[in-house]
């Protein structure tokens, strides 16, 4: 059986895309890594966990309910590792249906085929390395959000919150509300940057009000807010005990740190779609037409994975991608509704926040030589610069020289810092050092999932050549 449309990723864009595609009469399947659709911002709590519903929970529940009602096939808790078909066929052959291989929630491998594929893979967090960032007790800001909102757990009793963007204040306020204490907020952005972002923030009065409430809570709790500052070191013996910010030292049992969001492009890179480097969108993004088509026929992308605009703007992009896919497959679809003003405002605010969360070159330059950049393979800044001096001119070559990005995270955590370090060592732009070639498996999988069921007896042995 071939599906008409497969949607990879069940965040706000993916849920809306699958819902729209199913309404259009297509046979739809949605694949999602988490146990339930939702994505990071609208993440569903585990069964039996109940908190006071907030606007995010309500928005997520509405998208989930609409999706469930369509009867679209949902494959949650599955790990998609293999991509094939589409343009990945021997030269000269016609475009094939897309095939997606995954390990199911039950541990059983499966492969699905679809005529069209919509990528809604979201983002992961950018964390620019600093001394001690590999110490247990140091986690991402998005990680802290998951702990606080979905799991109901404080990252620590006394926490330093550091990095850039609105998540900083959201996490600090949530820690206080949950009964923890915040030792300091260390904001990479200066007050001037926030002031310049204000007009765009004012387009979403709800968010602005929320932001002001977060700041007021910090003020009332006498939390020091250090603007235009960054963590210089995380310290401790076996686990984090102190966070150093210049000359100031804060005792802390957790450090939540994040420097923005990076679009997850491994699937579009694997299909060899065209990409462009747009720092203001979060980094490398697939090049799309106005209707969400990538450069590969029948391959579409939507949501933050195509440029960071936030969860509020993602569903509309997902719906548009689904309508385009339906049209391209020959389904009759109603004309697209006019994009409403609320969405335009969400996009404007999202863009302002994305600019604040863009890669900060000064932060890259501040990394000491012996700091580990690639934590899977233990590659330091000095090793990257040695490779650059020895002739590594692209991120793929850097990988060959040093194994940077070759470990189980496949460069998702280190790729941005490594690219920026390589580009500055070579005196070229980040765009010129390129991105790592997309390769399967997209995620680590056990060998038996890739091999499938076979016996040695099944291996064809050619008859010996006649003498």
């Amino acid at each position: 059986m071939i599906h008409d449309i497969a949607v990879l990723g069940g965040g706000p864009a993916g849920m809306a895309a699958a819902t729209e595609a199913a309404h259009g009469g297509a046979r739809v399947v949605l694949l999602e890594e988490s146990p339930a659709p939702g994505g990071q911002v609208y993440r569903a709590a585990p069964p039996g966990f109940h908190a006071k519903p907030d606007p995010d929970r309500r928005a997520g529940d509405a998208l989930r309910a609409a999706l469930t009602k369509t009867g679209a096939e949902l494959r949650t808790g599955c790990r998609v590792w293999g991509l094939g078909g589409g343009p990945l066929v021997p030269e000269g052959q016609a475009h094939a249906p897309f095939s997606l291989s995954a390990l199911g929630a039950d541990g059983v491998p499966f492969t699905l085929q679809a005529r069209a594929l919509i990528l809604c893979c979201g983002t992961h967090e950018r964390i620019i390395p600093f001394p001690g960032w590999t110490l247990p007790g140091v986690i991402g800001l998005a990680a802290a959000t998951i702990l606080l909102k979905a799991q109901g757990i404080l990252p620590g009793r006394r926490v330093v919150v550091a990095g850039a963007g609105p998540l900083l204040y959201a996490v600090a306020a949530k820690i206080l509300a949950g009964g923890g204490s915040v030792a300091a907020v260390v904001d990479a952005a200066t007050q001037g940057e926030w002031l310049r972002a204000l007009p765009a923030l004012a387009a979403r009065p709800d968010l602005l009000t929320q932001g002001i409430a977060w700041r007021a809570k910090l003020l009332a709790s006498r939390v020091p807010v250090l603007a235009g500052a960054q963590v210089t070191a995380a310290e401790g013996d076996k686990v984090l005990t102190h966070v150093r910010v210049g000359d100031r030292i804060f005792a802390a049992d957790a450090l939540c740190v994040g420097h923005g969001l990076v679009p997850a492009t491994e699937a579009s890179r694997t299909y060899r779609a065209r990409h462009a480097h747009r720092p203001e969108d979060g980094g490398w993004v697939p090049v799309l037409d106005a209707a969400q088509r990538t450069s590969v026929p029948f391959l579409y992308a939507a949501g933050d994975g195509t440029g960071v605009r936030g969860a509020a703007a993602a569903p509309a992009a997902g719906r548009l991608a689904a309508r385009t896919a339906l049209q391209d497959l020959g389904f009759n679809t109603a004309n697209a509704p006019e994009e409403d003003a609320a969405l335009a405002r969400a996009r404007r605010t999202g863009a302002a926040m994305a600019r604040m969360m863009a890669l900060r070159p000064a932060m890259i330059q501040a990394i000491p030589a012996e700091t580990i950049i690639c934590r899977c393979e233990g590659v330091t800044r000095a090793a990257i610069e040695d490779a650059a001096a020895a002739g590594a001119g692209t991120i793929n070559q850097l990988k060959h020289f040093t194994r940077c990005g070759m470990g189980p995270c496949q460069g998702r955590m280190c790729g941005e810092a490594a690219g920026a370090l390589l580009s500055s060592a070579r005196g070229v732009s980040v765009a010129d050092v390129g991105f790592t070639t997309g390769r399967i498996p997209l995620r680590p999988v056990p060998m038996e999932a890739i091999l499938g069921d076979f016996d040695y007896a099944d291996i064809p042995v050619p008859a010996p050549a006649p003498i």
């Binding site: 986690i139 990680a143 990252p155 995270c409 955590m413």
Partner: protein, 90 residues
Amino acid sequence: MSLRIPQIACPAPVTITVEGQPVAAHPGESLAAALIAAGLWRFGEGEDPARPRTAFCMMGVCQQCLLRLDGRLVQACLTPVAAGQEVTCA
């Protein structure tokens, strides 16, 4: 002081064992969350003491939180707790 936020209701705790020691955890929460709540930030030594196993991204990306669950290699942040699980270092 517990790290669990009192305003969030969750199912009654069960017992899992972590490196042979009993740990109370709530079914459905991730193994990573349960270990953090129990004060066990360091999940294992890994290959290099400079980069031990620990929770870091909590969303399945970084692969730093690998553990063995009943002998099978899993990402602690994506694996829900269930009664009787035996967790060891990877």
